[in-house]
């Protein structure tokens, strides 16, 4: 039990006697958890426990939110928290009752607990606040701790509002493809101009500094701890806007002052601990939702993500919960450059192109002949371009930095106000895009044999899906399956399965020369030799280039060199490995109608030596945000396949 007489209050003898009296009968009703430190007023503790029990506090939603309890498959309760320091009771992870008792007990102690080494009242300030609200602690019998560290931290925010920040997806880093979410704590004295001074609340896995490929795998299976941190927003803006070139969307929440306070108090508690980070499930977006639940326990957000959590889905859910007020965008540096350059007149654009190559062109009379405000605009845009490229860093970025100095010196000599040009990101407001799950129902013919098909995809977006809200020209398909029923000798089969199918097109132009690439692992159905419907395992990788035009509306052309391995019982030696290429185009015909054409030639030199010519033509018509029609034609050798389907996003 761990009570020692000398640690009772100075006038404790009387209380101690009373305690003995009461304790003898109450002890088994409210057992003091073993391992807890000495309690200064056990009698009062017992009283509090009694009241907590009478009020059924342990069943209240707040308690479960603050401790991150979830129902397990077997009907028990388990906290998602993985840091033992987060719990006051040894079995607190699975026992809300024991944890409540131990927490109350620890509130009497000034022993330092958790990773952050504070008294329990301060380390678990949200629990203390809530239990105090419910039980109305008597300050003379349970004296409040000053909690100076928390107060300093809390005051430093000077919080007025919370904003959810969503940097859009970034194709060239697998861990960023689906975007990211974090919170920004907007200070009372900040203006839109000084918003970058705000602190953020960011949840991320902590990786060893020399992370390699194996870490991507470990990250999926929760091998790393995830921590919350308060990185200044200006560093996040640099990271996403300036370096990754991702458009950022900011969703300001309409939380009340008490809700903001609760959110921050719970954030402080989580600084004490970590969750195991799971890339697909318990990720950044998931735990940001858990903070919003702490702000307002009556809204249920986490229940909606039992398996995997895609950041944009959480943003959409928060907006549907009615929490979002104003939405603003912060375009990436590359978006800035493109939009500004597009808005230029032809002669301005010519000077821009010359200046970024050689700033000495500043001196030429032609440039000096431009109006000062037009000169300023060209110089500002050139500086944006050079900053974008100096973000490469090191020696590679140095020439760009030097050029930028020259450009900016010239700009500083022009005393004109910068042109006020509203810049729209290329990615439309992401929460207004289609949902990330998809189901399709359709029918068609394969070599004169009719079939019906149902297909379902866990995530996320392909090149023909309605584009608003998604990174243009980027496809990420994960866990997609198509089932078919063929007529004539009725036959049902798994027609197609994609484990992962990613394709990133990066149209090259004078501003950017990034390559395009693709990866596809899955299975499809082929006709080969005597086998008319044969399963064929596919692994394909390709590297290529893309370009775009605006002849009609917007067209993107692409070409890939690729390598492929196939596995099927239709082949001799059951496999074939080879290489080849693909060319194709995507065309927006109208806002709703999009076409895609592609052709591939592959030659297999290992295993079953053979070659393949394939054609694909696809057409999508958007019916509404979450409904679309598709007509697709696939040709391979003597194999022709037409499918008309209606697709719903969910």
């Amino acid at each position: 039990m761990g009570f020692r007489l000398h640690q009772l209050e100075p006038h404790g003898l009387f209380r101690f006697l009373l305690f003995l009296l009461f304790f003898s009968c109450l002890a088994f009703l409210h057992p003091i958890p073993s391992g807890a430190s000495p309690v200064t007023d056990p009698l009062y503790l017992n009283e509090l426990m009694g009241r907590a029990e009478a009020m059924h506090l342990v069943e209240e939603r707040e308690w479960h939110v603050l401790l991150h309890y979830r129902r397990t498959l077997f009907g028990g309760t388990e906290s998602m928290q993985d840091d033992p320091g987060f719990f006051m009771a040894p079995g607190g992870k699975t026992d809300p009752q024991a944890e409540l008792a131990a927490t109350l007990s620890m509130f009497f102690s000034d022993e330092l607990v958790g990773r952050s080494k504070q008294p329990a009242q301060c380390a678990f300030v949200a629990r203390y606040y809530w239990l105090n609200e419910k039980l109305r602690f008597d300050a003379t019998r349970l004296p409040p701790q000053p909690c100076e560290r928390f107060t300093r931290w809390f005051d430093e925010f000077n919080a007025a509002a919370i904003t959810v920040i969503f940097p859009s997806g970034f194709m060239n880093n697998p861990s960023s493809m689906f975007g990211h979410t974090f919170l920004r704590v907007d200070g009372k004295e900040q203006t839109p101009q000084t918003r970058i001074l705000a602190y953020t609340i960011n949840y991320a896995a902590q990786l060893p500094p020399d992370a390699g490929v194996e870490y991507a795998i470990k990250g999926i299976f929760g091998a790393y701890p995830g921590y919350f941190s308060t990185i200044p927003y200006y560093l996040k803006v640099q990271e996403y806007r300036d370096i990754d070139n991702r458009d950022i969307w900011e969703y300001r929440l309409s939380l009340t002052a008490p809700q903001v306070r609760r959110l921050l108090m719970h954030t402080w508690e989580l600084g004490n601990a970590y969750f195991d980070y799971f890339f697909f499930g318990e990720n950044c977006a998931y735990h940001i939702l858990s903070l919003l639940e702490a702000a307002e326990p009556s809204i249920r957000l986490l229940d909606r993500f039992p398996l995997y959590t895609i950041p944009i889905d959480t943003v959409r859910l928060v907006r549907e919960s009615g929490l979002v007020g104003e939405v603003v965008s912060r375009p990436s540096r590359s978006t800035l450059v493109r939009r500004k350059r597009t808005s230029m007149s032809i002669d301005e654009r010519v000077w821009f192109d010359r200046l970024i190559r050689n700033p000495a062109n500043l001196q030429s009379e032609g440039f000096r002949a431009l109006q000062p405000d037009r000169q300023a605009f060209v110089l500002e845009t050139a500086s944006d371009y050079l900053l974008q490229h100096s973000a490469v860093g090191g020696e590679e970025g140095a020439p760009f930095r030097d050029k930028n100095r020259t450009i900016l010196r010239a700009r500083s000599e022009l005393k004109v106000t910068p042109r006020d040009l509203p810049i729209e990101p290329y990615v439309k407001q992401p929460d207004l895009g289609h949902e990330t799950g998809r189901i399709g129902v359709g029918a068609g013919w394969r070599n004169h044999r009719a079939f019906e098909e149902i297909n379902i995809r866990a995530a996320y977006h392909d090149l023909l899906d309605p584009e608003p809200g998604f990174t243009p020209d980027a496809q990420i398909e994960i866990m997609s399956i198509a089932l078919r029923h063929y007529h004539h000798q009725s036959q049902a089969r798994i027609e197609k399965f994609s484990l992962i199918n990613i394709l990133s097109l990066a149209p090259m132009d004078s501003l950017s020369k990034l390559p395009s690439w693709k990866v596809n692992v899955g299975m499809q159905t082929i006709r080969y030799n005597s086998c008319t419907l044969c399963s064929n395992g596919v692994a394909n990788v390709g590297l290529g280039a893309a370009a775009e035009t605006a002849l009609f509306k917007r067209e993107v052309y692409f070409a890939f060199a690729e390598a492929e391995a196939n596995y099927s019982r239709a082949y001799e030696e059951r496999h074939r490995i080879g290489g080849g290429g693909t060319v194709g185009m995507l065309a927006d015909m109208t806002d709703r109608w999009k076409l895609m054409l592609s052709g591939s030639y592959l030659r297999y030199v290992l295993g079953d030596q053979s070659d393949d010519i394939r054609w694909f033509a696809g057409s999508r018509y958007t019916l509404s945000q979450n409904w679309a029609l598709r007509l697709e034609y696939n040709h391979r050798d003597r194999d022709n396949d037409v499918l008309l389907s209606v697709q719903a996003f969910f």
Binding site: R152, N173, Q193, K236, S412
Partner: protein, 171 residues
């Protein structure tokens, strides 16, 4: 791949990196708390395409050491928040390129934020912006030497500027 990663130390800091490395104990060369050494190191730039490892960015490297909530004191921060006396210098060093651009064009959010951290009231900020544009060349030269020198040069310029001299700012 490795080489590209090595090269990917981000440019924003390159001009000041010598300063950071020497930062400890020398008030003229950096925020004095070793922040620069952590910032953006090994940042995998987008040029390294295809399969990158998971982000080793502010998220991983800096986040938990410097900005960890209730993480206690580090060189620059206390429980994840900058020490008051480090705020201006840290901001100046971590945003130097953006501040330089804003100074050259006489406005911008990075310059406005720096002015606010220096305690310049909103009403005086247009004059402050104009002053930085006027003195762009010398201010940037100071900033390239060290962020602390930039802040020092700005303070001196404010003190000698008739429009701004009466402003009492907190260093």
């Amino acid at each position: 791949m490795k080489k590209l990663l090595m090269l990917a130390v981000v440019g924003v800091f390159v001009s000041t990196q010598g300063g950071f490395a020497l930062a400890a104990g020398n008030p003229d060369t950096g925020p004095g708390c070793g922040l620069g050494k952590l910032a953006w190191q090994n940042y995998p730039h987008q040029k390294v395409i295809g399969i990158q490892t998971m982000e080793a960015t502010t998220n991983g490297l800096m986040g938990n050491q410097t900005f960890g909530i209730s993480s206690g004191t580090s060189g620059c921060t206390n429980d994840g928040k900058f020490w008051a006396e480090q705020k201006v210098n840290a901001f100046a060093s971590l945003n130097f390129e953006n501040i330089a651009q804003d100074m050259a064009q006489g406005q911008g959010e990075h310059l406005a934020s720096l002015a606010t951290l220096m305690g310049i009231p909103a009403a005086q900020q247009p004059a402050f912006f104009a002053m930085t544009q006027e003195k762009y060349t010398s201010l940037v030269a100071a900033g390239e030497a060290s962020p602390v020198a930039l802040v020092k040069a700005l303070n001196e310029a404010v003190a000698t500027n008739p429009m701004l001299a009466k402003v009492s700012f907190k260093p």
